[in-house]
């Protein structure tokens, strides 16, 4: 029977230490008595208990000293912290294990009866990948998942991915463990300062009670415009604290302000009185906002400009109202987080936080506010006559209500007719644009290596009737999906890296695949080879967690953009370009991505350089992913 004061733990520890010493001594066949770390002699004995495993030896005698609780715990603090995550609807916590969060990790895997399954702990092989996963998930779902990081070292590993997510404005909850009583290099007084310049909000609660409200507040801040990653540093003491009768506080969702009724009615009146109103829809926050934007367009019979081919949470690309419409002579344009517009509702961007958060005065380019005080107006290149600094999505309910209440039967008849005309015109315009695009995409169709246009074209018929998400950035593979595929879902395309940093595609796709798993959705990852090699361990994670993710390598055996930059520079200096491959290409040896994937346990094939073999390979890949088994196809491609 264990003693309540914990002394039995010490006894057991001493016992194991002795046994380990005995085992080691026997293994070494030494005549000398073995010595424990304390120096006391222990006589070898053939009748001793079985030798501990190497892991036990390491843990009990080596550097891996575990931080033992100072008190027995009946109701763990980290169980309550886990309950907060559950209550917030956090589906996944991705992390690479670390002792500074062993308390909450243990709760995530063991809390409750039967043991907890949501949030599910997702095993990441690198902290950057854990955050990239949260980034991909957040973009796809418009709400946070959690990345869990180990102390100063995990936080620094993750910092690049946090930086990207911040640029993207992705809502994300980050928890970093802190154990001041353990390895000192892994702790710091103000750990969050490492990433304060590119997180929206952080806290380092001192007590269990504070930690519960801090997690809630971090979530609230993450989803409140400007949406962004937030960080809670969880001290080990809060994780291991005895909760006693403490209850999880009630979560209060944020109040996100939209336009008031007066402004809503003014805009509604302009939209209704216009002969040819138009909406421009940028990136909204959630699928609900997208649905409301669709509702507004349909109420107005307004044609709509969509950004769905550029990123998530925009208007469905092939909604009948999406397109230039029957006439481009627009007499009133409403912008929702974008222009051009007569009036644009522009919510705050993360740049607005710079003055408050960048206490180290790093002054990251791209985060420096260039426009109005809200940091939003200056980022817009499209002309906007009147920019209203308020969240567009939160304004939609008031706009919908105003349009409904103000529209007359006569206007509704006109609107219905206009809708029909717009739908026909948009269909014609789409087909014309597609015909023009296809005439370009056929170039190099039969070439080896495979043209990037063919890669996208061959994929489309295989996924067009599926619920799909293109999670990887497409800028380096020429973005052919923009013209060939139809982006009708809020998550059809998740856009670029954010800050242009490499090592993002696999992790973000993994996060999108977490969102897709269980929703009968598949994720496509057109994976550039340069980006792949930063954190390929995501391949194992995808297999381990059965993620529906098809990775198709855009393998041009280079960091090709950099190759072109170096060629240009050498050319400007008149030194020739025949050595520009040095440091910019992945040759000698070529990397075999199919075998690499197999090493991580993923089904794969390739390299494929014969374009006639591509379609069948893609079909096998899609079939595999639909079975819940991720797949990789290595395709040797034209550079772009």
């Amino acid at each position: 029977m264990p003693k309540q004061d914990g002394s039995d733990t010490v006894d057991r520890r001493a016992f194991l230490t002795a046994a380990a010493g005995a085992g080691l001594a026997l293994g070494a066949n030494s005549a000398e008595p073995a010595r424990t770390s304390s120096g006391s002699a222990v006589a070898p004995s053939a009748s001793a208990a079985p030798a501990p495993t190497a892991a036990q030896v390491e843990r009990d005698t080596g550097l891996l000293r575990i931080s033992l609780p100072a008190r027995a715990v009946q109701r763990c603090g980290s169980d309550l912290q886990t309950q907060v995550l559950k209550d917030l609807g956090i589906e996944f916590v991705a992390g690479n294990p670390g002792s500074s969060f062993e308390g909450i990790q243990e709760s995530i895997v063991n809390y409750g009866s039967p043991p907890n399954v949501m949030p599910e702990f997702i095993t990441a092989l690198h902290e950057e990948t854990a955050v990239d996963m949260a980034n991909g998930y957040g973009k796809a779902e418009g709400r946070p998942m959690c990345a869990m990081l180990h102390g100063t070292i995990g936080l620094q590993h993750a910092s690049m991915a946090i930086y990207q997510a911040y640029y993207s404005g992705t809502p994300m909850l980050i928890i970093a463990g802190r154990d001041d009583g353990f390895i000192q290099a892994h702790t710091a007084n103000d750990m969050a300062a490492l990433v304060r310049s590119f997180t929206k909000w952080d806290a380092q609660p001192k007590t269990l009670a504070e930690s519960l409200t801090a997690i809630q507040e971090a979530y609230r801040q993450a989803i409140t415009p400007p949406t962004a990653p937030t960080l809670v540093v969880l001290d080990m003491e809060t994780q291991k604290a005895e909760a006693g009768a403490m209850q999880v506080p009630k979560y209060l969702p944020p109040r996100i302000d939209g336009i008031d009724q007066t402004n809503a009615r003014e805009i509604a009146q302009k939209l209704l009185s216009a002969n040819n109103p138009r909406m421009e829809v940028g990136q909204l926050r959630t699928p609900k906002g997208v649905a409301q934007a669709v509702e507004l367009a349909e109420l107005l019979g307004a044609c709509v400009g969509s950004r769905a081919t550029a990123g998530p949470m925009s208007f469905p690309q092939r909604h009948p109202l999406s397109g230039p419409g029957a006439s481009t002579d627009y007499d009133f344009r409403l912008g929702l987080e974008t222009g051009p517009a007569d009036i644009a509702l522009m919510g705050p961007r993360v740049a607005s936080l710079e003055s408050r958060r960048d206490t180290a005065h790093i002054g990251f380019g791209g985060l420096r506010a260039r426009g109005g005080a809200d940091g939003a107006a200056g980022e817009q290149s499209a002309p906007i006559k009147r920019s209203v600094p308020i969240d567009a999505e939160a304004s939609l309910p008031a706009l919908l209500a105003a349009v409904r209440s103000l529209s007359t039967p006569a206007q509704q008849r006109v609107i219905a007719e206009r809708q029909t005309k717009h739908a026909a015109a948009n269909q014609t315009a789409y087909v014309a644009a597609l015909e023009k695009a296809l005439d370009q995409k056929r170039k190099g169709w039969d070439l080896s290596p495979v043209s990037t246009a063919r890669l996208y074209a061959e994929l489309w018929p295989l996924i067009m009737d599926e619920d799909w998400c293109l999670a990887s950035p497409s800028n380096f593979s020429s973005g052919h999906h923009r013209e060939l595929w139809v982006h009708n879902k809020p998550y059809s395309y998740l856009g670029g890296q954010g800050a242009g940093g490499m090592g993002y595609g696999l992790g973000a796709s993994g996060g999108a695949a977490l969102a897709a798993r269980g929703r009968n959705r598949i994720v496509i990852n057109i994976q550039t080879d340069g980006d792949f090699n930063y954190a390929p361990g995501m391949i194992w994670t995808a297999v381990h967690h059965r993620l529906p993710m098809l990775t198709v390598m855009h393998n041009n055996r280079a960091w090709h953009q950099e190759l072109m930059f170096l060629q240009y520079m050498a050319g400007v200096r008149g030194r020739g370009t025949d050595r520009a491959h040095i440091g910019t290409t992945l040759r000698d040896p070529f990397i075999d991505y199919a075998r690499l994937a197999q090493g991580y346990g993923m089904a794969s094939e390739g390299p494929i350089d014969d374009p006639t073999r591509l379609s069948a390979a893609l079909a096998r890949g899609i079939a595999s992913v639909k079975r819940g088994e991720p797949y990789l196809i290595d395709v040797l491609t034209q550079p772009r």
Binding site: K443, G444, P461, G576, Q638
Partner: protein
């Protein structure tokens, strides 16, 4: 005006004049025959021309097949384009096209590359002859709901 701009303006003028004289077609060019297309292919790869033009000249940011660019209409213009850019880099309006002085790419090498470039043929199949492209076009005729 700075002297450099004067020089640059002259260079641009010379190139424009050459381009004006050039015939923007892919008619047979005897000059191409002076070069060795096989060696040109190797040079095209070694110098990374494929970076922007594709391994076969018809993909990428600046495909060469079917563009009818006067800059590749004949060897003289092609050579002048490379050289002038090298001497007066970068021409305005600038592009990412590197510059090649003779010290980086000899006249003989330019001839070889040009010979290879002239082997590029607009041999892409018609959309109607590519089942995948045809099916994409056909699918566009029906409204997408997902």
């Amino acid at each position: 005006m700075k002297p450099a701009l004067n020089t640059k303006a002259k260079a641009v003028g010379a190139l424009c004049a050459a381009m004006a004289l050039a015939v923007p077609t892919f008619a047979a060019d005897n000059a191409a025959a002076e070069g060795d297309a096989g060696r040109g292919k190797q040079l095209f790869h070694d110098h990374g021309c494929y970076g922007c033009h594709g391994f076969n000249g018809n993909t990428g940011a600046r495909d060469l097949v079917g563009t009818k660019s006067p800059l590749i209409a004949d060897l003289a213009t092609f050579t002048m384009f490379l050289r002038l850019r090298a001497d007066q880099a970068p021409l305005l309006p600038s592009s990412r096209m590197p510059n090649y002085p003779a010290s980086a790419l000899s006249d003989a090498q330019v001839r070889d590359i040009y010979a290879y470039v002239r082997t590029f043929k607009p041999d892409a199949p018609a959309v109607k002859d590519v089942p995948v492209l045809k099916s994409i076009l056909e699918s566009a005729s029906r409204p997408k709901t997902r």
